[in-house]
C-alpha cells in the first residue's frame, strides 16, 4: 500500500502560503500595500501589478475552520451583536479581527490599505466589507459585477465592469501604491495565469479517467487554493501548477487514484459529482466518510467559484481589462440557477458519474437557496437519484457527523442496489 507522502506540489504550496503571510505580516514595515478582496471575481493580477498584496477573508475564515478556531471567533462576533442567522464566514472574520487578527500561519494580518469589494455572485460580500470598513476606516472600491440572470455575459455588462476598473479601481490602486498603471506588467501576469489555468484544467479533467487520479472536491480544494487566492499570475503559481500536473499525469500513467488523508484510493467504487462548498470544521472527517466507502468525487462546482476554467475561459493578455471583466462575470456563483443545473448535468455526463450529492451549507444563500429545486431538476433530467446533506462552512455547531454519515451511506447503498438492478 502506498504511503500518504507529501508531493512536491504540496510542499511548494505550503511554502508559498508561508512566504505570503510572512510578507503580509511585514507589510506595515516594508510599505507593501495590502488589498482585501474576495475569491470570486478576485483581480489578483491587477492588484499585484501595483506591488500590492492580496488578503482574502474567505480563505482566512476557512483556514480558521480547519484549525478549529472558527467556533470561538463566531461566538465572539455573536456576543458583539451579530445574528446567529447570517454567514459564518463573516462572523469568523469579525471574531478573528476582534481576537488579534492572527492569520492561518500564526502571523498577524495587516490592516488593509484598500477594500476591493468585487461584488461577484454574493450579496453578503457587500455587507462584509461595509462591516470591515467600520473596523478599519480605510477606503473601499465597489466593483459591481452584473449577475448572469439571463445565462450569459451581455456586452454592456462587460463594458460596465471594464469602465469601473478604469474609472474607480485603477486610480485607487495608483493612490495606495504610488505607482502608475503598467499594462505590460499586467499582461505578463495574465500570461502566467493562462498557463496555470491550462494546467489546472488538465488536472481537474484527469478525473474522467478510471480510476480517477484525483478527488475533484476534497483534494481539489487544495489544488484551486493558489489560483483562487494570491498566486494567480505569479511565477510561483505557475510552478505549482506545473508540478501538480506532472504528479497527476504520473498517477494516470501508473493507474493510481488520489491519496486521501486515510491513504490511497485506487480501488474506487462510486464516482460522484458534488454541488456546494465543503464543511471546513470537520473537513477530514467529512472526506473520510467518502473514502471509507470508496467514493471518489470526479467533479464539483465549488472548485469553480474562483473561475469556471474547464468551460474554456482563460485570462487573455491581448485584452487585459476585458478579460478581467469576463473572469469576474463568469465565476460559478455568478451563474443563474438554470446554468448551474446545466453544468451539473454536463459533469454527470462527461465524468460518467454514478451519482451526485448536494452539500447545502447554512451560511451561504448564494449557493443554497434553490438547491432543492436543482436536486429535483438534475434527477429528472439525468435519471440519476441525488443526495442532499446539510452542514455549514465554519460553524462547528452545524456539522452533525452521524446524520451526514447516515445519509451518505444510505445514498450509496441505493446507488449500489440500482447498479445491481441494471442489466
Amino acid at each position: 500500500m502506498r504511503a500518504a507522502s507529501k508531493d512536491r506540489s504540496m510542499e511548494l504550496q505550503k511554502q508559498m502560503i508561508a512566504d505570503h503571510y510572512k510578507r503580509l505580516e511585514e507589510a506595515p514595515a516594508t510599505g507593501e500595500p495590502v488589498v482585501y478582496t474576495f475569491v470570486p471575481g478576485n483581480l489578483t493580477e491587477l492588484v499585484r501589478s501595483f506591488g500590492a498584496l492580496p488578503v482574502l477573508p474567505e480563505i482566512n475564515a476557512l483556514q480558521s475552520g480547519m484549525r478549529g478556531k472558527s467556533g470561538e471567533y463566531i461566538a465572539a462576533a455573536e456576543r458583539a451583536g451579530h445574528s446567529e442567522d447570517v454567514c459564518t464566514y463573516v462572523k469568523c472574520d469579525i471574531g478573528m479581527l476582534a481576537s488579534g487578527n492572527i492569520g492561518p500561519t500564526g502571523t498577524r494580518l495587516p490592516k488593509p490599505d484598500l477594500l476591493l469589494l468585487s461584488y461577484t455572485g454574493c450579496y453578503t460580500f457587500m455587507k462584509w466589507f461595509e462591516l470591515l470598513r467600520e473596523q478599519y476606516q480605510c477606503p473601499i472600491v465597489f466593483l459591481q459585477v452584473p449577475y448572469q440572470g439571463e445565462g450569459m455575459i451581455a456586452p454592456e455588462h462587460r463594458a460596465f465592469v471594464v469602465k469601473q476598473i478604469e474609472d474607480d479601481l485603477i486610480p485607487a490602486l495608483e493612490r495606495i501604491s504610488s505607482r502608475k498603471y503598467d499594462e505590460e506588467r499586467l499582461k505578463d501576469a495574465l500570461r502566467l495565469s493562462a498557463s496555470s489555468e491550462d494546467d489546472l484544467v488538465a488536472v481537474l479533467e484527469s478525473a474522467k479517467k478510471r480510476p480517477s487520479p484525483i478527488d475533484a472536491y476534497f483534494g481539489a480544494v487544495y489544488y484551486v487554493g493558489p489560483i483562487f487566492s494570491a498566486f494567480r499570475g505569479t511565477p510561483e503559481g505557475r510552478e505549482y501548477y506545473r508540478s501538480l500536473r506532472e504528479e497527476v499525469e504520473e498517477r494516470i500513467r501508473l493507474g493510481l487514484g488520489p491519496v486521501t488523508p486515510e491513504g490511497p484510493l485506487d480501488d474506487q467504487k462510486y464516482r460522484l459529482v458534488i454541488e456546494g462548498p465543503p464543511n471546513w470544521t470537520s473537513f477530514r472527517q467529512f472526506w473520510k466518510m467518502f473514502s471509507d466507502e470508496r467514493a471518489v468525487v470526479v467533479a464539483s462546482t465549488y472548485t469553480k467559484v474562483g473561475g469556471v476554467y474547464d468551460r474554456g475561459f482563460r485570462h487573455d493578455a491581448g485584452d487585459p481589462l476585458g478579460t478581467l471583466a469576463d473572469y469576474c462575470c463568469g465565476c460559478y456563483t455568478n451563474l443563474n440557477l438554470p446554468s448551474r443545473i446545466d453544468l451539473l448535468l454536463d459533469y454527470i455526463r462527461e465524468y460518467e458519474a454514478d451519482g451526485f450529492l448536494i452539500n447545502s451549507v447554512k451560511s451561504c444563500n448564494s449557493f443554497s437557496a434553490g438547491q432543492l429545486l436543482m436536486l429535483r431538476e438534475v434527477e429528472k433530467r439525468s435519471g440519476i437519484p441525488g443526495a442532499f446533506i446539510e452542514s455549514d462552512l465554519v460553524d462547528p455547531r452545524y456539522f452533525s457527523a452521524a446524520n451526514i454519515k447516515n445519509r451518505l451511506e444510505s445514498y450509496l447503498q441505493m446507488l449500489e442496489a440500482r447498479r445491481a438492478a441494471t442489466p
Binding site: 458583539a80 451583536g81 451579530h82 445574528s83 442567522d85 447570517v86 454567514c87 463573516v90 469589494l117 461584488y119 454574493c122 450579496y123 453578503t124 457587500m126 455587507k127 462584509w128 461595509e130 462591516l131 470598513r133 467600520e134 476606516q137 473601499i140 465597489f142 459591481q144 452584473p146 449577475y147 440572470g149 439571463e150 454592456e156 455588462h157 460596465f160 469602465k163 469601473q164 474609472d167 474607480d168 443563474n336 440557477l337 438554470p338 448551474r340 443545473i341 447545502s360 447554512k362 444563500n365 448564494s366 443554497s368 437557496a369 434553490g370 438547491q371 432543492l372 429545486l373 431538476e377 446539510e390
Partner: protein
C-alpha cells in the same frame, strides 16, 4: 355631527376595503382589471424595489408580490427551501404552485438578496412560459457607470415587456407613468408625514393595509382611496395617548404580520417611521417628466434613492449616522429593529445601524419575526417594556 359620522364610516370603509385587498391571496382586483379588456396583462415584482414606471409604461399592471403572510398555509413551499432560508420565498412559491399567480405574464426579481436572486432562476425553470427578469440594482452611483448600467436594464425590460404586450411604448407613455408614480409616491409621503405628525390619528395598522393594498391595485384606485383616507383622518383625528414614538426598521422585504404591527402599537408605541413596503417610496424625489424618461429614471435612482440595506452605502459614516438622522426626522424616542428571521440584508446591517444609534444614546431593542408569526406575547412584552423604559428613563 352628521359629517363626522360619515367620515368615520368612510374611513372604516376604506380600511376594510384595504384589509380585504391586502389579504386577498387570489389578487381579485388585479384579475378583474385584466379581465376588463382584452389584451391586458400584469407584471409581478418581488421586494424591494422595481421600476413600476416601466411596467406601467409598457401597459402592464404592476403587482407587488410580498408573500402569503399569516393566512397562507405552506404545504408545497417548504419542499423548496431548507430550514435556514427566510419565509418569504416559501410563501411566494406556495402562491405560485397553487395557481394564485397564474395571472402574471411577467415577474421581476430585484437584487434584494441572494434568495430573491436565485428565486428568479427557479422561476425560469418552473414557469418557462412567464417572462422572468432579474434586475441588478445599480450599486455604484456614477452616472457613467452605474447610471448607464441601470438605464440599459430599464430599456431592456421596457423592450421585453412591450414585445410581450405587442405594443410600442412612446416616450409620452413613460412620462405619463412617471407622473402617476410621482403622484403615488407623493401621496405615500403625505401619509407618512401625517402619521409622523399625528400617529394617534393614523395608526400604522391602517396605514399598512392601505399601502399593502396599493401594491396590487391600479395606481388611480390607490390614489382615490388614499386621498379619501387622509381627508377622513383629518376630520376624525382620534384621541392622543401617552405612548412612546418609535421607528420600526428592518422589515423592508419579508413583511411582518399585521398582528405584530398591532401588537407594537397596543403595547404603548406609536410607530412614527418604518421601512415596510419600502419600494413604494424607494425614490425620494419626483422623477422629472421632461427629457428622456429612462435617463430621468436612472438619474433619480442614483441621486434620490432611499438609504437601504439593499444598496451599497458609499459614505464611510453612512451606516453610523443613518438611524440618528431618521430618529431626528421622525422625532422618535427609540428604535425597534425588527427583521425577518434569516434576512441577510437586515441582519447583516443591524450591528452597524444599532452601534450608530446607541453611540448617539438612542434606546433600541431588536427581535426577529416571520411573516406567519402567530404568537405575539413575546413581542408585546418586549415592546411594552421598551415603551415603559423610554417613558421612565428616555433621554437620560
Amino acid at each position: 355631527m352628521r359629517l363626522q359620522e360619515d367620515d368615520v364610516s368612510k374611513r372604516s370603509e376604506i380600511v376594510d376595503w384595504a384589509l380585504g385587498v391586502a389579504e386577498d391571496l387570489d389578487f381579485g382586483i388585479a384579475r378583474e382589471w385584466i379581465a376588463a379588456e382584452p389584451g391586458r396583462r400584469a407584471c409581478g415584482y418581488l421586494p424591494v424595489y422595481a421600476p413600476r414606471e416601466v411596467i406601467l409604461g409598457s401597459g402592464f399592471l404592476p403587482v407587488g408580490i410580498h408573500g402569503g403572510g399569516e393566512h397562507l398555509e405552506i404545504i408545497r413551499g417548504d419542499a423548496f427551501y431548507q430550514s435556514y432560508i427566510c419565509h418569504l420565498p416559501r410563501s411566494v412559491i406556495e402562491l405560485a404552485q397553487t395557481g394564485r399567480l397564474d395571472f402574471l405574464s411577467a415577474v421581476l426579481f430585484p437584487s434584494t438578496c441572494d434568495v430573491i436572486r436565485n428565486l428568479s432562476g427557479m422561476w425560469k425553470v418552473m414557469y418557462p412560459g412567464v417572462y422572468v427578469r432579474y434586475l441588478d440594482l445599480p450599486q455604484v452611483i456614477a452616472e457613467e457607470t452605474g447610471g448607464r448600467f441601470w438605464r440599459e436594464q430599464l430599456a431592456s425590460v421596457l423592450d421585453d415587456l412591450c414585445a410581450l404586450a405587442g405594443r410600442h411604448a412612446a416616450p409620452d407613455d413613460l412620462r405619463e407613468a412617471i407622473g402617476l408614480c410621482n403622484e403615488s409616491r407623493r401621496t405615500v409621503r403625505e401619509l407618512y408625514a401625517a402619521r409622523r405628525e399625528r400617529p394617534w390619528s393614523i395608526p400604522t395598522e391602517e396605514l399598512y393595509v392601505l399601502l399593502r393594498a396599493a401594491e396590487t391595485v391600479p395606481v388611480a384606485l390607490f390614489l382615490e382611496k388614499a386621498r379619501a383616507y387622509l381627508a377622513a383622518a383629518e376630520v376624525e383625528p382620534g384621541p392622543k395617548k401617552d405612548k412612546s414614538r418609535v421607528i420600526v426598521t428592518g422589515a423592508f422585504c419579508e413583511q411582518p404580520p399585521l398582528g405584530l404591527i398591532k401588537t407594537i402599537e397596543r403595547a404603548g408605541c406609536y410607530i412614527v417611521d418604518d421601512d415596510f413596503l419600502l419600494g413604494n417610496r424607494f425614490l425620494t424625489v419626483d422623477v422629472p417628466c421632461d427629457g428622456d424618461p429612462l435617463d430621468q429614471l436612472a438619474r433619480a435612482m442614483l441621486t434620490g434613492s432611499v438609504k437601504s440595506s439593499v444598496l451599497f452605502e458609499s459614505s464611510p459614516e453612512g451606516k453610523r449616522r443613518l438611524m440618528k438622522a431618521r430618529v431626528e426626522a421622525a422625532r422618535a424616542d427609540g428604535i425597534i429593529f425588527a427583521a425577518a428571521s434569516f434576512c441577510d440584508p437586515a441582519l447583516l446591517d443591524r450591528p452597524m445601524l444599532r452601534a450608530g444609534a446607541e453611540a448617539d444614546g438612542i434606546p433600541c431593542i431588536a427581535f426577529k419575526f416571520s411573516e406567519n408569526s402567530g404568537q405575539f406575547q413575546q413581542f408585546r412584552e418586549q415592546a411594552g417594556t421598551f415603551a415603559d423604559s423610554i417613558k421612565l428613563w428616555g433621554g437620560e
